[in-house]
Point group: C2
Chain length 141, copies 2
């Protein structure tokens, strides 16, 4: 029941990018150094965040990455879903990636006892992470 390094690194990188939001761009090695993240691995993460529309990048000599959305419009939930997939602890309670359990004897049944409990967990997690914005990270150093 853990988040991956990818999510953790991604969030730490975004903390860094929040600091310079509106100002200059940050290069991958700057972020990597400040946050102790292997540069090439970080790159994959930044790319994923870029494809998801959170970051912009510029190549070339004075290139780098910058936030494309305001920190208060980015939630931890968004970021984690991009990098780690759905938040739900079991897929039959995911709202973004629902999948009927193949082997569960309650799958056909109107109510699965596990599903109820796990649904509560999912909602609690999503409730926090989908309302927690990057702006709460700003100037936290």
């Amino acid at each position: 029941m853990k988040f991956s390094k990818k999510s953790e690194y991604g969030l730490r990188a975004l903390i860094e990018l929040c600091e310079t939001y509106g100002g200059r761009v940050l290069q991958r090695h700057e972020i990597a150094e400040r946050q102790n993240i292997p540069v090439e691995f970080l790159e994959q993460i930044l790319l994923a965040l870029k494809r998801a529309g959170l970051l912009a990048s510029r190549r070339g000599v004075r290139g780098g990455y910058s936030l494309i959305k305001s920190p208060e419009d980015i939630t931890l939930g968004q970021v984690i879903r991009i990098l780690d997939g759905p938040l739900a602890p079991i897929s039959c309670v995911s709202k973004t990636a629902y999948q009927k359990c193949a082997d569960c004897p309650y799958a056909a049944t109107p109510s699965c006892p596990l599903q109820q409990a796990m649904g509560e967990v999912r909602d609690a997690i999503a409730d926090i992470l989908d309302h927690y914005t990057l702006s709460r990270f700003a100037h936290s150093k």
Copy 2:
């Protein structure tokens, strides 16, 4: 951010064992058949739950497994921690298995921004799972 099959199977097995609590014992193949769980894998799970003091077992001809504690004294949190380890989404916010992050630049700092958010998540998950008892599963079929 998912629970393992181990936890899921374990909980489903316990649902089954709740049904017969106080009555007869259940054999591994009975549980396995009713819940569609590979029998040898289930065994490992039952053994782990036994070692943790939740189940009793009897060998031999009319052997099997039975709950040793009342369903209302067993929480989902306990079970999941036995089978899946700590609930915390990152180990620096675990209460049962805390570990300082090696690479995080905020590790030395009084407050890590991620830690705060993840701590909330951990508490929310634990709050639900540590108060959700197996008795809420009883006679759910």
